[in-house]
């Protein structure tokens, strides 16, 4: 993965240096005050932007002709999507603009408000209805908890607010709202268009909207009636639609649960599901495949049946995505805006071009702007507007710059032929895999048991060089020096407690008195300060010169306790020297 990123970086460098001349810088206004996302921006004769404003003010529908702002319409609520579409056959064929905001779609014709559509309200839970009719007399305590368990979803207006109020506020609230019937209203989360029954660029299109209620609606272009309603397992956030409503169509939606669902005509439920490993940030369809930008700095491509085609690792998180569809040149690619102030252009998994921007790009839109077909329109985090125009002579060569497997990987190695032994073994393994696995597991369990037993035994008999006692945590090791017959035995004793000193300890040796003599063989240890290492020397004399050796056992004892705190077995070396006399 690292290596892939490194290669990527190197290639990025390469691509960037030879390609900065493909775009003309037509316009850059760093203080255009446009705060928007790719879903709220539309191009054509003019540039239409659903401006989210700053905070709750300045939410506007802005229209640019060329570099100048030609119209502004105040919007009541934040826009969630904007599309331009032809709603009728009238001449001249100027498209209408639909802006989704809250539960409404505002339709503009010739930049003038034309029609407002409201999503049909959802059904009200009968229990809620009952509570609201009784709410004037009944206190919340009797119904609130009961209701909370029975409707897990959001409450209808105005009941939801009512349930959150303090008891003393309830009465005023009920009096204020008691005339109103209960209603449950969902809001639009995404919007797109779908040609009714003709494929032409300016054919009449239906609006397709995704709602917070996990539904997809297809609306009739003229009557604004719901032509079709489909349900999803989660809330749609990004939508792409292709085909014709009366013939065959496909709706691809990325949802808040991190899945992508593909819906088709004649099926009210998703046909295919793509489960992503991280949340989708951008969704673009190229021909029949979808390209998804994910939160994990990856770009993934899937077929329309949900089969994964490729993955590209990006150098920075994805901010936004857009389709670069240059009709006159028959060129299609995906634009990916990254948080490192780059917009990268991918055709399949090949990085073709990098556009560096002065600020992080939050919305991208490629296409016709005025008279220029190859316009790249971007808005930035700081509210800037950037317009670049693709040079007439620019070409993107399709050289495969993907950081694929290294070349060496395809060189055939001279692998020796399989031996009979190997083949037999493989056969045996294949045939007895289950039995082998069981035998291995059995042995493993036995081993674990044996070691656990040994450990317990060691703890019980204080045979370890580490004290198991919590009150006197001690550590000891021993070193033997000398060739013989005199040896020096150094015991390093350490109190491993955090701050408590240890007192009243003694050391005693146990050995074969026919072989060794020790002076002294029992002594007291001074107070042990925590953390310090105390070297204690003892001298051992080997009494025989027959070339044999034995074990000397060391016990660290505490006054008043019969069991030693620590035990060490020292394997004495063979005495190689001769006694002096």
């Amino acid at each position: 993965y690292r290596a892939a990123i490194e290669t990527e970086k190197r290639i990025c460098g390469l691509v960037a240096t030879d390609s900065c001349t493909r775009w003309l810088d037509a316009h850059y206004d760093p203080v255009a005050n446009l705060y928007t996302f790719s879903s709220c921006i539309g191009n054509g004769d003019s540039l239409v932007v659903g401006d989210l404003g700053t905070g709750a003010c300045n939410i506007k529908l802005k229209v640019y002709k060329g570099t100048s702002l030609v119209s502004e319409n105040t919007l009541l609520d934040l826009p969630t999507g904007l599309v331009s579409f032809h709603m009728d056959q009238h001449e001249p064929r100027t498209p209408a603009i639909a802006v989704a905001s809250g539960p409404f779609i505002y339709v503009y014709k010739n930049l003038r408000p034309y029609f407002k559509f409201t999503l049909p309200p959802l059904e009200v839970n009968p229990l809620e209805q009952e509570v609201w009719t009784q709410a004037k007399e009944v206190r919340r305590e009797r119904y609130g908890p009961h209701l909370h368990t029975s409707c897990s979803r959001r409450f209808s207006f105005p009941l939801g607010r009512f349930l959150m109020l303090d008891p003393q506020e309830m009465e005023t609230y009920v009096n204020l709202h008691k005339q109103q019937p209960l209603r449950r209203q969902t809001v639009i989360t995404c919007i797109s268009t779908l040609k009714k029954n003709m494929a032409e660029e300016d054919a009449v299109s239906c609006l397709v909207i995704g709602a917070e209620s996990k539904d997809i609606y297809v609306l009739d272009p003229e009557a604004f009636t719901v032509l079709s309603k489909m349900s999803l397992p989660s809330v749609p956030t990004l939508i792409d639609v292709t085909g014709q409503f009366d013939v065959e169509f496909r709706i691809t939606v990325a949802c808040r649960n991190g899945n992508i669902y593909i819906l088709r005509r004649d099926s009210p439920k998703p046909k295919y599901c793509i489960e992503l490993t991280s949340h989708p940030v951008g969704l673009v369809r190229i021909g029949k495949n979808v390209v998804v930008g994910c939160a994990q700095e990856t770009l993934l491509s899937y077929t329309q049946k949900g089969k994964k085609l490729w993955t590209v690792y990006l150098p920075a998180p994805v901010m936004t995505m857009g389709l670069m569809d240059h009709h006159t040149r028959g060129f299609q690619a995906v634009l990916v805006g990254l948080s490192n102030c780059q917009v990268q252009l991918y055709r399949d998994k090949n990085l073709l071009n990098i556009v560096k921007t002065p600020d992080v790009v939050t919305s991208i839109c490629f296409g016709r702007f005025g008279r220029e077909d190859g316009s790249l329109i971007m808005t930035t985090k700081g509210g800037g507007l950037i317009v670049k125009i693709l040079k007439r002579t620019a070409v993107f060569d399709d050289r495969d710059t993907a950081p694929g497997p290294p070349l060496a990987q395809s060189i055939r190695l001279n692998v020796p032929k399989k031996t009979k032994l190997y083949v037999d073994q493989t056969m045996r393994e294949r045939e007895n895999a289950v039995a082998m696995h069981r035998a291995f597991q059995m042995d493993l369990s036995r081993l674990r048991l044996a070691s656990a037993r040994a450990y317990v035994k060691a703890l019980e008999s204080s045979l370890t060089p580490m004290s198991a006692s919590l009150s006197e945590p001690l550590k000891m090791n021993a070193v033997v020096q000398g060739l013989g017959p005199s040896f020096k035995l150094t015991l390093n004793v350490q109190n491993t407690a955090a701050c408590r000193p240890v007192m009243n300890l003694a050391v005693s040796f146990l050995y074969d008195e026919a072989l060794y003599s020790m002076r002294p063989s029992f002594f007291k240890i001074p107070l042990l300060v925590p953390g310090l290492n105390y070297p204690i020397d003892a001298f051992v004399e080997c009494l025989v010169d027959k070339g044999i050796s034995d074990i000397i056992k060391v016990f660290v004892l505490q006054q008043g306790k019969s069991a030693p705190l620590l035990t060490a077995h020292i394997n004495m070396p063979v005495s190689e020297g001769l006694p002096l006399n």
Binding site: L24, G66, S68, T328, R371, E372, D373, I389, K391, R392
Partner: protein, 205 residues
Amino acid sequence: MGLFDKLAGWLGLKKKEVNVLCLGLDNSGKTTIINQLKPSNAQTQDIVPTIGFSIEKFKTSSLSFTVFDMSGQGRYRNLWEHYYKEGQAIIFVIDSGDKLRMVVAKEELDTLLNHPDIKHRRIPILFFANKMDLRDALSSVKVSQLLCLENIKDKPWHICASDALKGEGLQEGNKFSSCLALFHIEMHLGIIGRIIVVKLALVVK
């Protein structure tokens, strides 16, 4: 008989054929300008975007022009270079109201100036900063700045603001016609220059 006609007559350039290329982005007003140059009885009322190119011929007393009115649409711009060789003068029209595409105009102009058939020739260029009547039109000074015209050192050039719809200047005898007059001088100078070189060559012989 004007001074230039006299001059032309003196130089023996009577009814000299001059090929003029009219270039510029689509919608800049090339066809409209050329239409205005025609005698009023030959002018057309409705001007549609040019497809490919069209050829117009008209005469002043001393010169007979053949104007190649090229289409400025992106897909036809690659036709331009095929006429560079024959061209003896260039009219380059800019829509001064189209700020967004000023870079595109500059790009096409630079490509033109760097073309091998143009680069080393002292071919005169007349720029029209057209549509000056538009409210937010850039001035001819601003246009020449944006196109970096001051960098053109080896070719005679001139820029003037124009309103091709009204034919501003043509009737009143101001800017538009003086531009054309100047344009004539430049062309003559070009031709005179060449004649002098020829004469010098003869003298040396």
